[in-house]
């Protein structure tokens, strides 16, 4: 029976790391050139979502766990980062740090509860936990409910760089995002990452080899939540707004969509998926409600006919690792 793992697995050979280097260089060049052609806010938004999707992919593509409630970490980290910047008057680097730590903490709590079950139950539990925290966000004063936290100051990075300048903010987001992508790459290709892949392929075997798989899964979960929190904090500063949309279940669905379209278990898949989906939503914005329908259709098509996603297909055809 085909598992999520089989769909994700691409030939992983050491000698094809050049493909990763090429892809990485392409990304870098794109990010440097793009703001002069495209709207910088659009790219920053796509980068935040790309990071969010990569964090999600860590869990689904490399551990095989589908979290349907990842918006929980993304959104709440955004709230805390916004609150830190606006109410506590913290500089942006600390605000982002606080948001990221929020993601980590929430990931730990959620992970402890959710890891107890497998497969479908795990997915349902993550969804339910996220919904619970959405309902909390609706009522609690901290989040501002429907109003959200508005007018979040971007501040001066390290007291030196004024982030209210569009290009400075852009540079900040690019640097943080690239660093995070690289971190994820290192995690996946470390001994720890190898154990995760082993758990994904055959958990029983990993257990019989003496690995405490639950612990590994939990660590992966927390890592994923932390990085999702980083993405959420960045987004709150880019848009100077933290709102309910970021903790709603549709946001959780979007990140699944981005990763699926881009390619589960590939490094660049989620990045491509994020850019594509953000661009699509931008294009469709005047047509308001069709966004939901098209997202749903893409889900269905991907599951039926396109499970490897764009980058996954590309990697398989070219027989390289991406």
């Amino acid at each position: 029976m085909a598992t999520l793992a089989n769909a994700a697995a691409a030939p992983a050979r050491r000698e094809t790391e050049w493909s990763l280097a090429v892809a990485g260089a392409t990304l870098l060049i794109f990010l440097i050139a793009a703001p002069f052609v495209l709207y910088p806010v659009f790219i920053m938004k796509a980068l935040c979502f790309a990071l969010f999707a990569c964090a999600f992919n860590l869990l689904i593509g490399y551990v095989g766990l589908v979290s349907f409630g990842h918006a929980l970490y993304f959104g709440w980290a955004g709230y805390l980062a916004a609150h830190a910047a606006k109410v506590w008057g913290m500089p942006p680097e600390l605000a982002v740090l606080i948001g990221t730590i929020t993601g980590m903490g929430l990931g730990l709590i959620a992970g402890v509860v959710a890891i107890r079950r497998q497969g479908i139950y795990f997915a349902m539990i993550t969804l339910a936990l996220a919904q619970m925290m959405y309902l909390v966000a609706l009522r609690v004063k901290l989040t501002g409910g429907e109003d959200g936290i508005q007018g979040v100051p971007r501040g001066r990075l390290f007291g030196v760089f004024d982030l209210s300048d569009q290009m400075t903010m852009y540079a900040f987001v690019v640097v943080v995002a690239l660093a995070a992508f690289f971190l994820i790459y290192r995690i996946i290709n470390s001994p720890f990452g190898e154990v995760l892949k082993a758990v994904r392929e055959n958990e029983q075997r990993a257990v019989s080899l003496g690995y405490k798989t639950d612990d590994y899964k939990l660590v992966a979960f927390v890592l994923s939540a932390t990085l999702a929190g980083l993405a959420g904090s960045l987004k709150a500063l880019v848009f100077q707004l933290a709102s309910l949309t970021d903790v709603h279940w549709t946001m959780s669905g979007e990140v699944v969509l981005m990763t699926l379209v881009g390619g589960l278990g590939t490094i660049f898949g989620p990045i491509v998926g994020a850019f594509l989906i953000v661009a699509m939503e931008n294009y469709l914005a005047p047509f308001g409600q069709w966004v939901l329908v098209i997202q749903g259709a893409v889900f269905v098509i991907c599951v039926l006919a396109f499970r490897r996603g764009i980058v996954g297909e590309l990697a398989a055809r070219l027989r390289v690792q991406l």
Partner: protein, 295 residues
Amino acid sequence: MFEIFGIPSQALFGQLLLGLINGSFYALLSLGLAVIFGMLNIINFTHGAQYMMGAFAAFLLLRYAGIGYWPALVIVPIVVGVTGVVIERLFLKRIQKLDHLYGLILTFGLALIIEGLFRNSYGSSGQPYGVPESLQGGRNLGFMFLPNYRAWVIAFSLAVCFVTWFAIERTRLGSYLRAATENPALVRAFGINVPRMVTLTYGFGVGLAGLAGVMAAPIYNVSPQMGSDIIIVVFAVVVIGGMGSIMGAIITGFALGIVEGLTKVFFPEASNTVIFVIMIIVLLIRPAGLFGRSA
């Protein structure tokens, strides 16, 4: 009018009644999910959208064909059930061999499509659907005011749940179904058309969702989001009850509705999260769920 724990009886029993109503819907929907999961091993995320379709179908029947509540109660589940059969044939059969999580993602996608289409046509605020004439008004029982329609909803849900449970657990058809869940190959060898049973079971489960939708229309207003709002709560109900048993799904649904109602009286701020909190507690103490067999 008297007071209990400092709360006027009218408020207490009123909220309990509302809780029982919510519980009826939780029970009906988690019953449908349990039936579908039992046969197909798929978590039908589309269930919420199908519930919403049921409500809309009732609304559309009334507006464009002048067909009222009572005929709708019969027509709509069949219509929605048929759409379920189409979905099963077109989509679910193809991914049978894949990891079950793809089923979740696929049905999630279908749910988005359905909700999006309805939102496009009808906007995202509610359409009105009146309480049927014969059930309008209510009785003042002294300690509370009981609207007739809501009393009907509770009674009818209990009846439907009981009939479904009886059909599955006590009739021969039900025993074929249960056997096919355990060992489809063997049951097929006995000459029973298992794929057709699977399709019909999905259709039935979806029909239950549609029925719940019709019943919900006069109470909750007919809006495209009504499905997604309720389905996540129902997932929590299902995790608490455990997917194993039909009776478990029914009892958990009603019980949680009542708990929610009571929370509204004593801790109103916590009322919409109490079910999730209970889910967390149950997961920590008894991961398989209250009525579930160990996964």
